[in-house]
């Protein structure tokens, strides 16, 4: 193989992010605790610099470099930009929460940045090897972040479950990959797709390998029946970490689905479609029904994540370009809403108070009409009420499912979204029609107020004018 200097240029965003992260890791050691703000600012600068590097070379020609292990294409760029933005907002929201809980240390940010790097590697993966390595880099950072609050037994339990189940899922994924490699003779996704298209590989082994790969992917996405870890981890982790896990990694999980199934195994479409249908229906059913029973808002969001993952899978399982584009739109929408939702929990929490019970939202309207209105936007959007963004996301996905000739599946999706609307609207009822139990003033910092307002207004704005984002998603997927 020849090593071109231009290859490094294509890889520049990742390289720069890694370099700055390592520099922060060392610099953080010499920064005293009272000026930890410096670390925070360096971390945000790292994200902004990487974002700018991506934007300057946005939507260039599709390039596969470094012996077919790395691909740079438009959809990858869109996903990476979304990851960086989500991480930026996450770190901003998390700052005061971490400071109040004595966790405002470099580790959260450094591990967070390494996780972002893992997501970017996963998004740009063009070989089974890089998919696995990117995934491990992301997962390892997240395992450690969950247990950063070492003295909390809830967090330790969550981290232990997450780690053990995650290791098993990785093992399953690796076994599936090894079978796939054994019959196609290549780790390169393009070569695998070609070998499958030509029908050179025996079908039994392929479906066997496919099942194992789907178990691994299903676990990372949190689709039923591989969802066990989600409620415990979301509930047990400090809210700042839950916000991180619930946001950007969903984009990476979508990228994994896209690279492995849509790009790597289009020849096995009817096989994986059947399995994904089951995963999607189960996720939508179980997620929405169990969310109703929750009294903890973090747990409720966890089950709501599971149901949203079901919807996200719906678009991918059609296997068409426009179907995948609708899933991409859904993923970006979901992450925007999830970050805002967890941001709201952080907004209401303060020293010694987590604000993670549903009752903590009672009478929010009397305490602060503006933030109650923002929460209303988030909840309506998650429930899929027009004209908010969540409605369009559900609509485009359902449209593609119907276009693929699976009207019954679309009906199932609609039914479960209506069931799901109940628990979102319950929060609205608590905020507007109940008397507040807790009347302490809300005083987060100015940046957080502005970012949260912008984030929620973006849901409203994009809901009224969804055309731009939709067109971006379509142009990213369609050749």
């Amino acid at each position: 193989m020849t090593f071109e200097l231009s290859d490094l240029l294509t890889l520049l965003p990742e390289t720069v992010l890694l370099g700055i992260t390592c520099a922060i890791l060392i610099a953080d050691l010499f920064i005293p605790q009272r000026s930890r703000m410096v670390t925070y600012l360096m971390v945000q600068t790292a994200l902004v610099v990487t974002l700018l590097l991506l934007l300057t070379s946005f939507a260039g020609e599709r390039q596969v470099i470094l012996s077919g292990t790395f691909v740079r294409d438009t959809v990858g760029d869109v996903l990476k930009i979304a990851v960086l933005l989500a991480a930026f907002v996450t770190f901003l929201y998390a700052r005061d929460y971490l400071r109040a809980r004595n966790m405002f240390r470099g580790e959260y940010y450094v591990l967070g940045l390494f996780g972002v790097l893992g997501m970017m590697i996963l998004i740009s993966a063009h070989s089974l090897l890089t998919i696995y390595l990117g995934l491990e880099l992301l997962s390892l950072s997240m395992y450690a972040m969950v247990v950063l609050q070492r003295d909390s037994s809830l967090a330790s339990e969550a981290a232990m479950k997450y780690f053990v189940l995650g290791a098993i899922a990785s093992g399953m994924l690796l076994y599936g990959m090894s079978l796939l490699y054994g019959v196609t003779g290549s780790l390169d996704l393009a070569a695998i797709a070609e070998a499958l298209q030509a029908g050179r590989a025996p079908g039994v082994i392929l479906s066997f390998g496919l099942v194992f790969i789907l178990i691994g992917v299903g676990f990372k996405l949190g689709a039923v029946p591989f969802h066990m870890w989600i409620p415990d981890v979301y509930h047990g982790a400090p809210t700042a970490v839950t916000l991180y896990i619930g946001g950007a990694p969903k984009i990476a999980a979508f990228a994994m689905l896209l690279r492995l199934l849509v790009e790597g195994m289009p020849g096995l479409h009817e096989h994986w479609q059947a399995i994904l249908v089951v995963l999607a229906v189960l996720s939508m059913a179980l997620g929405n029904v169990l969310a109703i029973a929750q009294t903890n808002i973090k747990r409720m969001f966890a089950y709501s994540t599971i149901s949203h993952v079901g919807f996200l899978i719906l678009g991918v399982l059609t296997g068409t370009d426009s179907g995948v584009a609708s899933s991409l739109f859904y993923t970006l929408t979901y992450v925007l809403m999830a970050v805002a939702g967890f941001g709201m929990i952080l907004f209401l929490s303060r020293q010694g108070f987590e604000a993670d019970e549903l009752d903590d939202y009672k009478g929010l309207n009397q305490r602060s009409p503006w933030y109650a209105a923002l929460m209303l936007v988030i909840m309506f959007s998650m429930a899929g009420v027009p004209p908010f963004l969540g409605f369009w996301a559900k609509l485009v996905v359902l449209e593609q499912v119907v276009a693929a000739g699976m009207t019954w599946l679309a009906v199932v999706g609609v039914v479960f979204s209506i069931i799901g609307a109940f628990y979102y609207l319950r929060i609205v009822k608590l905020m507007y029609f109940d008397a507040p139990e807790d009347t302490s003033p809300l005083n987060p910092n100015v940046e957080m107020r502005m970012a949260l307002s912008l984030n929620s207004l973006a849901i409203l704005y994009l809901g009224v004018f969804p055309g731009g984002l939709l067109a971006l998603c379509q142009s990213a997927i369609l050749p």
Partner: protein, 199 residues
């Protein structure tokens, strides 16, 4: 059946035996030792595949370093064997049923017959250096995954330190710098004493 096949089956059988013992023996120290045994047997198989460097590294790194450390940890931890064994009989039938069903499926579905699509690579000539080839591949074709693996190890170190490092107050510790800088006058006091007579 050539000598190569006999050697292969001997080493393969030994490694399967070792692996089985790892998960069935009750004493964790013995389990760790069986794991060492399994590594030795797999190293034998790798030598047969002309991967001499890997085989030696497996023995040196895994057996020599990793597993010895592991043994230390296992011996230092006070593992309650009775607690480990609790529920063994209760879960045994389900476990055996799942394992047997899984093994039968694996043998039926992923037997060796399916993997015949590729001819084995020709044996490399004697002058090819295994180590050099590995190094060349790692730093050219697989340089990107190799670097990512390095980053993963870095994250593992950061995570391990972040989770275990505690700054306790009131801990007694030694400062080697001060110990080295110590002078004779600091430690020894010469006293003039008249000698006493024995009675």
């Amino acid at each position: 059946m050539g000598i190569e096949k006999i050697i292969f089956y001997v080493f393969a059988a030994l490694s399967v035996y070792g692996a089985l013992m790892v998960i069935t023996v009750r004493n964790p120290v013995k389990a760790a030792l069986y794991l060492v045994f399994t590594f030795f047997a797999s190293a034998g198989v790798w030598i047969l595949l002309e991967a001499e460097f890997l085989a030696i590294v497996l023995v040196l790194v895994y057996v020599g370093a990793v597993m010895v450390l592991f043994l230390f940890v296992v011996m230092m931890l006070d593992i309650n064997l009775a607690q480990l064994r609790a529920g063994f009989v209760r879960y045994l039938p389900v476990g055996v049923a799942v394992a047997v069903a899984f093994a039968v499926m694996l043998i039926m579905l992923v037997g060796g017959d399916w993997f015949g699509g590729f001819a084995p690579p020709p044996p490399s000539p004697a002058e090819v250096s295994n180590t050099r080839e590995l190094g060349r591949l790692l730093y050219t074709v697989y340089v990107y995954p190799f670097e990512i693996a390095a980053v993963i190890l870095l994250v593992a170190i950061v995570a391990a330190i972040a989770l275990t490092l505690r700054r306790r107050s009131g801990v007694k510790y030694q400062t080697p710098g001060q110990q080295i800088a110590v002078r004779r006058q600091d430690r020894i006091r010469m006293i003039d004493m008249p000698s006493e007579e024995r009675k």
